[in-house]
């Protein structure tokens, strides 16, 4: 339970955006911990605040609109919110690295892979050009890119989606970070390539003893790669538990609905799926109380809608936002 076991502790994080229509709260009191050497999955639908949570941790919120309005993010006991720009620069890449969904937009299209890797290496190290070349080849080999010397001379558009994501991973791992934040790393890829990339992240993690915060909307990916799962809905964590527990005994109505709504390969063809009615509520219309009320199909009393349900540990390591209606 100590800080030594947790590499990252996010406590009651609140992230807001100032828009023309006023201030909106994208992340509303989120808390979770990432354990050393483990993978935490952050799952939720678009707009639930999972990417904003990641951007808050790495302090990549769009400026000047986005800011952290409350809570704390501590990494190995240091509060990240208090770091200066220069300290952050030292911090990123060495302690925490991030990979993004679409490697084509995250890589620079007019520079070769080699140049971009060199930039990442030189960020925290002084190296001769020979050393850089050697390190780059090593890195590309590590992410299993065939004929790395040739690839270094190429531009991102000459690579396939899977290869680009490997280059991104190589860049993120240059300085052996302790935590890797992967924001939908395989969403843009084919299933076969997705399997390769997840396998790669997994084996690099074991090899380097790295922790991973994996953000995804795909419950299949969660089931196959994570140790613990945080389910987010409309800016809040509704449930959090070890991976086996989330899938075997989900407690919140939203988690249950989500698990039931995915077509499973063994299901009977053309049978009706259990769907969650309605769609994710707009961020401006969020209620202080249970936010899943409208879609749950269960009648909520006004007090459930107006009062934020407590986030409690319902059984060991299994936390849930205890709306008395959604958690039966």
């Amino acid at each position: 339970m100590s800080a030594a076991e947790n590499i990252l502790e996010v406590k009651d994080l609140v992230t807001v955006f100032d828009t023309d229509a006023g201030r909106v709260t994208a992340v509303d009191g989120v808390r979770f911990e990432v354990k050393r050497g483990k993978t935490l999955g952050l799952v939720g639908e678009s707009g639930c605040g999972k990417s904003v949570t990641a951007f808050s941790i790495n302090r990549l919120l769009p400026q000047p609109h986005g800011k952290i309005a409350g809570g704390s993010i501590s990494f190995e006991g240091r509060n990240l919110a208090g770091l200066s720009v220069e300290e952050l620069r030292q911090f990123r890449g060495r302690e925490i690295s991030m990979i993004f969904q679409e490697p084509m937009t995250a890589l620079n299209p007019v520079q070769t892979v080699g140049k971009q890797l060199a930039e990442a290496i030189l960020l925290h190290q002084k190296c001769s050009s020979r050393e850089i070349l050697q390190r780059s080849v090593e890195l590309l080999t590590k992410v299993r890119i065939p004929s790395p010397e040739v690839r270094l001379q190429e531009y991102p558009h000459q690579l396939s989606g899977g290869m680009r994501q490997r280059v991104m991973i190589a860049m993120a791992l240059v300085h052996k970070p302790k935590l890797l934040i992967a924001d939908e790393p395989t969403t843009a890829l084919d299933v076969t390539v997705q399997a390769q990339i997840l396998d790669l992240i997994n084996s690099l993690q074991t090899e380097m003893g790295m922790s991973v915060l994996l953000i995804t909307h795909d419950l299949g990916v969660i089931a196959e790669t994570c140790d613990e799962v945080v389910v987010m809905y409309a800016g809040r964590v509704v449930e959090r538990a070890p991976v086996a527990e989330i899938f075997s005994s989900p407690r919140h109505a939203y988690t249950q609905g989500l698990l039931q709504s995915i077509p499973k390969i063994e299901s009977v063809p053309k049978s009706r799926l259990k769907a969650i009615p309605g769609s994710v509520p707009a961020i401006e219309t969020l209620l202080p109380g249970c936010r899943f009320a409208e879609r749950s199909g269960r009648p909520h009393l006004p007090e459930h809608l107006n009062q934020r349900p407590p986030f409690i540990e319902i059984s060991p390591q299994h936390w849930v936002e205890q709306c008395p209606v959604c958690v039966a």
């Binding site: 678009s46 299933v191 989500l258 077509p263 063809p269």
Partner: protein, 329 residues
């Protein structure tokens, strides 16, 4: 139980869709991109044929060629017995009533400057059907059918969520009471909880209206859930075609097996070591000789497939597979 042999609605025979790759100063055609290279499939009345494959395998091109958004290079397209491969755009117009399409991204396939009413009336206007009052009524009925409020008619596409927009796309596709709808990745852009709503809607409409679907997607679990039969496509060719359950329980082609194996299973108790597929789909511009998948797998028997005429063979009733020495035992 013997199944009734349903009438074949769409027949595609040895369809080829090649594109010239231009280059040089004179922009001459230097090479050919064989996006679809000899595909034969058929869709019966009321049936859903799933089409699955990785990106770049030609599944979208095949869909577009079937609705004649492309002029096929070679082969034959038959709809209700009528050859529509080379029919002129004008002569196609009445046929278009019967073949419609749903696109992947409803945000891009709906005109942002038109209200939902304009969008849904357009098919009727093109086909010169109904009076103003009738069309108004039809739009109301369509919205009701896809589960949207009648007040939606006077709003613009951007006012809707992704799932609702796809409902509008579906309403437009069913407006003229078509017989066949080509659905190109209809739920890939949607969230999980909304995806199942849209899939349910498509199943309901199929039952009510007796629609046939060609359901194109890259996710095998979704395709299997929606389809009676599934065709697996690789590099412009169908490598396996079988009834959904059969394909899932008894896949014969190595590529189908690899696809099935790569699907992440949403059940942590079933974690298993995977046989990982290496490499990417090769380019259809310079496809490898012989069996393209065996080449990717670097299969020792791949060389035997070079020069072979690889064709789909029926290995058990309704189960077709492209037999080659490297991919099929």
């Amino acid at each position: 139980m013997p199944r009734l042999r349903r009438m074949s609605l769409l027949n595609v025979e040895n369809l080829k869709m090649h594109f010239p790759v231009r280059g040089g100063i004179l922009m001459r055609a230097l090479k050919t991109c064989k996006a679809v290279d000899g595909v034969s499939i058929s869709v019966s009345e009321g049936e859903t044929l799933g089409l699955v494959g990785e990106s770049g395998c030609g599944k979208t091109t095949l869909g577009k060629a079937i609705v004649r958004l492309y002029q096929p290079t070679d082969g034959k397209l038959q709809f209700e017995g009528q050859d529509i491969t080379r029919v002129s755009q004008r002569a196609l117009r009445p046929i278009r009533r019967d073949i419609q399409m749903i696109f992947q991204d409803p945000a891009e396939s709906l005109n942002p400057r038109l209200t939902v009413r304009d969008i849904l009336e357009e098919p009727f206007l093109i086909q010169k059907q109904g009076t103003t009052a009738e069309r108004r009524q039809w739009v109301g009925e369509l919205l009701d059918k896809v589960g949207l409020a009648s007040t939606a008619a006077d709003r613009f596409p951007f006012e809707f969520s992704g799932g609702q927009r796809q409902r509008i796309g579906i309403a437009r596709a069913i407006a003229l009471k078509p017989k066949l709808i080509v659905c190109d990745e209809p739920v890939s852009a949607l969230d999980v909880s909304v995806q199942s709503q849209v899939l349910n809607l498509m199943l309901d409409l199929q039952r009510e209206m007796g629609l046939s679907y060609l359901f194109i997607a890259h996710g095998l679990s979704v395709v299997k859930h929606m389809s009676d039969r599934v065709a697996v496509m690789y590099l412009g060719k169908i490598v396996e075609l079988a009834p959904s359950e059969e394909l899932y329980h008894n896949p014969r082609h190595a590529y189908t097996k690899a696809l099935l194996d790569a699907i992440p299973v949403p059940d942590p108790s079933k974690r298993r070591p995977r046989r990982l597929l290496s490499g990417d789909v090769p380019s259809p511009i310079d496809p490898p000789k012989g069996c393209a998948f065996g080449h990717r797998m670097k299969h020792p028997k791949w060389e035997q497939s070079v020069g072979m005429d690889l064709k789909l063979e029926e290995i058990s009733p309704g189960h077709w597979v492209q037999k080659c020495p490297c991919c099929v035992d």
